[in-house]
């Protein structure tokens, strides 16, 4: 595809439900990133994949958050037992190679999650 796509665009969940957010990176991009953007804030790093390997998950807020990229392309961010504080926009980004040396990251439109 031409850019990074994410689905669903909007998700409303009841507190305690599990949710799964999908990211389709730019075709052929090696690196994939997930960010969380709270209202009125900048994106904050959650996790980084190089191909199928999750090399950094230091930004995941709790063990309720889990991400995978099993075949090195599509990625899923899963949040178990959602809490109200999980309400945010979840952004996915991809870059062409390793992502290092400040390589440009291309962002998707985000999934807006609202936990009631």
């Amino acid at each position: 595809g031409a850019g990074v796509s994410q689905s669903p665009r909007y998700k409303v969940a009841k507190r305690g439900q599990d949710v799964a957010l999908r990211c389709d990176p730019i075709s052929g991009h090696v690196s994939l990133f997930w960010y969380q953007q709270a209202l009125g804030q900048g994106p904050e790093f959650l996790t980084y994949f190089q191909n199928e390997a999750q090399l950094d998950k230091s930004g995941l807020p709790s063990d309720r958050f889990f991400a995978e990229r099993p075949e090195g392309s599509v990625s899923t961010l899963k949040i178990q037992r959602t809490q109200q504080e999980d309400s945010a926009v979840y952004l996915c980004a991809s870059s062409a190679t390793s992502g290092s040396r400040g390589e440009t990251q291309y962002f998707g439109p985000g999934t807006r999650l609202l936990v009631l």
């Binding site: 009125g40 804030q41 950094d56 040396r101 990251q105 985000g110």
Partner: protein
């Protein structure tokens, strides 16, 4: 203290004005500096990318980095209503972990 600080605004200017957007940062190891534009309910879109100190110009946009004062600027000349958006500065060391400011909301009035 956040590693990248940015005034959240909002900033309102008349059409045609020169806009100055600024960030400060605290990490001396930052080497790469980016400006992203984010329209409401959209993802961030890369505007400018600068390595180390200096100026970079692209059309109506100029990015400036002063590493001695840890100051990042974006200038928009001849601002248009279509420039109304949130502008995010970001910095990174030699790795992949972008650190973003909070974003400045800009409104250009017709």
């Amino acid at each position: 203290q956040k590693e990248v600080e940015q005034d959240p605004g909002p900033l309102s200017v008349p059409e045609g004005a020169i806009v100055s957007l600024n960030c400060t940062y605290s990490n001396s190891a930052f080497q790469y500096f980016m400006w992203y534009r984010q329209y409401s309910r959209k993802g961030p879109e890369l505007l400018m990318y600068t390595y180390s100190s200096g100026n970079k110009e692209d059309g109506r946009f100029t990015a400036q980095v002063d590493k001695s004062s840890k100051y990042i600027s974006l200038f928009i000349r001849d601002s248009q209503p279509s420039d109304s958006a949130t502008y995010l500065c970001a910095s990174v060391t030699g790795t992949y972990k972008y650190i973003f400011g909070t974003g400045t909301r800009l409104k250009v009035l017709a």
